[in-house]
């Protein structure tokens, strides 16, 4: 295989597989937070803040794989 082709495939696999887990996680976080907001609407301000922070932490694994993919594409 040509190195350039291998690079593209590797970058695609890195970001594609890396995004699965964090996608599932973010869906769970948003779903549970919305459920809680529906049950307890006066708490929704507090919940929204916590939800965004939790989502950002959860997202970081996807961001790591994005950075790895970018390094594969641009730095090698």
């Amino acid at each position: 295989m040509e190195p350039a082709a291998a690079k593209l495939i590797a970058a695609g696999i890195a970001i594609g597989l890396g995004a699965i887990g964090s996608g599932i996680g973010e869906g769970l976080i948003a779903g549970r937070a919305l459920e809680a907001m529906g049950r307890n609407p006066e708490q929704s301000d507090k919940l929204l803040t916590n939800m965004i922070v939790a989502m950002a932490i959860d997202e970081s694994t996807a961001i790591y794989s994005l950075v790895v993919a970018l390094i594969i594409l641009f730095a090698f």
């Binding site: 803040t49 965004i52 950002a56 997202e59 970081s60 961001i63 994005l66 950075v67 970018l70 641009f74």
Partner: protein, 260 residues
Amino acid sequence: MSSLADLKLAPDVLFNVGPVPVTNTMTSAFAVSILLIIFALFVRRNAGIVPSRLQVFVELGIDLFMSKLVMILGSEKEARKYFPLIFTFFIFILVANQFTLIPFVQTIVTEEGLTFFKTPTAHYSLPIALALIAFFAWNFIPFIMAPFRFLGNFIKLGVFTRIRSIKDVPMALLDFMLGIMDIISEGARLISLPTRLFGNLVAGELIIAIISGLFFYTQFFVPIPMIILSILSGLVQAFVFALLTLLFLSTNVRNVKNHN
């Protein structure tokens, strides 16, 4: 038509000041700082007992953030102490993320055809610098408050003094190892905090660049939803950076204060 090979992460070097190369992300970071300083001085000069519209807007933003700080830190006094640092992070990253959206900013070019301004947070150096400041804040403030207690949270020699019988030894060793693990997690925080900001911003920029570079007719209306998405993620990331710094700071300070 630009292709994937034309995209790059490194900023363009505009000119050199001595041995220091000045890049276009640096110029825009400076421009953002100067803009914010001028804005703050302007608001401060015109501030009065009867507030103007602008002053009401600024005070609303400050109050909103202050209430978050009070909620997390627990008291107004504590919140006032850490408010300048956290709010500066928030407002600087907020403006820096959206800086290139100001009309005509990206059309300023130098003689070599390089753009003079580029989103400063889309280069790794600025998020790392900000995260280092935050890292020193959340480690140094509790360290000054109580040096031995703070170090004791990481190197838990105290657990060995509580050993009464041979049965307690494994638990003490486990506690000690957990303390060592906390040092590693501090390092992971230092890596993940800037990577999150950088990754989000650079992903937004790259998606817009790739979509507008696909075909001739995708340059006009197709990138607009992506631009809206990247504006949103820029807002959220500014908030998250400030809030995570605050959370790490408040947990470390609380650990030092409530040590038994």
